[in-house]
Each structure stands twice: as structure tokens, then as C-alpha cells.
């Protein structure tokens, strides 16, 4: 029988993996995709717990996470376009002006 722990373990693995991706990749779009993956792993947790606890509230949360992710995608990608227009690159190593 598949328990809630199975789903949550998959979510944990995906989360840790995408964390690694965020920390090592330099391409801003890939980093962005990794963040989407993190959000999805969290969504998986929400839905598995909702199913386990027989409470639909968790799924509503997923709905809102998706709304936030959509907004984030729109703004984030617009930012990347604006940045690319100035620097001809979306390598995050080049985004380093905000420092001492």
C-alpha cells in the first residue's frame, strides 16, 4: 500500500535536488525552472497530506501556490528580458552590482 510517506519522500528528494540546482546553476532561466520545481514538490506534499487527512484545504493552498507561481513567472521572465537587453546575458554571475 502506498502511504503518504512515499509521496512525501519523493517530494523531499525533488526539493533537495532542485535546491542543489538553484545553488549551482548560473543560467537565470534554469534557476527559475529549479524554483518552479521546488514549488511543485511542495504542491505534491500539500496534496498528499490533503488526501491523507481527508481535508480539502491543502488543495486550495496548491491553487494559490499556482497563482503565485504564474505571477512570479510573468514578472521573473520580464525581468530577465529587461536584464538581457542591458547585458546581452542572463548569467547570474554578471548580476553583481548590488554590493559593497
Amino acid at each position: 500500500m502506498i502511504s503518504v510517506y512515499h509521496y512525501m519522500s519523493v517530494a523531499a528528494i525533488l526539493f533537495a535536488m532542485s535546491t542543489y540546482g538553484v545553488l549551482t546553476r548560473r543560467n537565470a532561466i534554469v534557476i527559475f525552472m529549479c524554483i518552479e520545481l521546488m514549488l511543485n514538490s511542495v504542491n505534491l506534499t500539500f496534496i498528499s497530506l490533503s488526501s491523507h487527512l481527508q481535508n480539502i484545504d491543502g488543495q486550495i493552498f496548491v491553487f494559490f501556490v499556482m497563482a503565485v507561481a504564474a505571477a512570479e513567472a510573468a514578472v521573473g521572465l520580464a525581468l530577465m528580458i529587461a536584464f538581457y537587453r542591458n547585458r546581452e546575458s542572463i548569467d547570474v554571475d554578471n548580476i553583481n552590482m548590488l554590493k559593497w
Binding site: L14, I56, Q59, V68
Partner: protein, 167 residues
């Protein structure tokens, strides 16, 4: 049978996730990501949440992924330059492993608790998942729903302003 399905889908999901973080070309990463989304949608179905599976595919695999791919194409991004990583892989690996072990330990150790409801799989099938979500959304969570709509509006305006050539 079900467990077999679970493990195979989980394997595909993790492998696709791995592709996302390892592929040199952003397009490949994006395809891996789509793959993962599909796997998660299958999980949602297995968890008796067919509506969530549907919007997972529509919003993520449909809308967001198209947006990402569009930007990749628009910016004509090539393969990431093979530079030596100046930011330590070791530290990053350590951090993510700690996150992994932390969460796994947490799962092993404790019982899952929370506000329990009385929604059985039978009920979901008889009433309909979409209707259940809709009821909850437009009664109990109406205000957050409206706020989310404002958030999306703001994001649209923000995106337009940011992407314009001359502000």
C-alpha cells in the same frame, strides 16, 4: 500494481528532475521540467485529486512552460559556457543534502498530523472533485481568491512595464 505504478512514476519524476538541473542546454532542462510536471499530475490523480492534476497540466505544463520556452527562444540562449564553477559545488551539495536528510528524518521520525477532515475518496467520486474545490474556494476562501486575482493583475502590469523597451 499500484505500487509498481507509483515507483515507476517516481523514478521518472526524479530522473526528469535530475535532467532539469544537469542539462547544459536550457531547452533540455525545460523539457525535463515538463516531464516532471506530468509525473506529478499522475501522482495527483492517484491521490484522488483529478482537478488539481488537470490544472497542473494546464497551468504549469501549458502556460508557464510555454512562457519559459518562449523566453528561451526569444533570448536565443545557447549552451551554458563551461566555466569552472566559482561558487562552491561542495557547499551547495552539502546544503542540499542537509535539506534532504532533514526532511527525510523528519518524515521518519514523526507522525503526520494536521486538521483532519471527513472527505473520503468515495465522496470525491460521487460529488465530483471540481465541485468540492469550487465550493470551498468560493465560500471559505473567497477573500484569498480575490486577493490572488489582484496579485495576478499586478503581475501582468509589472511584467508589461518591465519588459517595455523605454519606460
Amino acid at each position: 500494481m499500484e505500487i509498481l505504478l507509483f515507483y515507476s512514476v517516481a523514478l521518472v519524476a526524479v530522473l526528469s528532475g535530475f535532467l532539469v538541473i544537469r542539462c547544459q542546454s536550457p531547452v533540455n532542462s525545460a523539457l525535463g521540467l515538463v516531464n516532471t510536471f506530468f509525473c506529478l499530475a499522475i501522482f495527483y490523480v492517484m491521490l484522488h485529486a483529478p482537478f488539481m492534476a488537470a490544472i497542473q497540466i494546464m497551468v504549469y505544463a501549458g502556460a508557464i512552460m510555454v512562457l519559459i520556452l518562449f523566453v528561451i527562444m526569444l533570448l536565443n540562449l545557447g549552451i551554458e559556457a563551461r566555466k569552472r564553477y566559482t561558487h562552491g559545488i561542495v557547499w551547495s551539495a552539502l546544503a542540499s543534502l542537509m535539506v534532504l536528510f532533514g526532511t527525510i528524518y523528519f518524515l521518519k521520525r514523526g507522525r503526520v498530523t494536521g486538521a483532519e477532515g471527513d472527505l473520503t475518496a468515495f465522496q470525491i467520486e460521487s460529488i465530483g472533485h471540481t465541485e468540492l474545490i469550487g465550493r470551498s474556494m468560493f465560500t471559505e476562501f473567497l477573500l484569498p481568491f480575490e486577493i490572488a486575482s489582484i496579485l495576478l493583475l499586478v503581475a501582468i502590469v509589472g511584467a508589461v512595464v518591465l519588459a517595455k523597451k523605454e519606460v
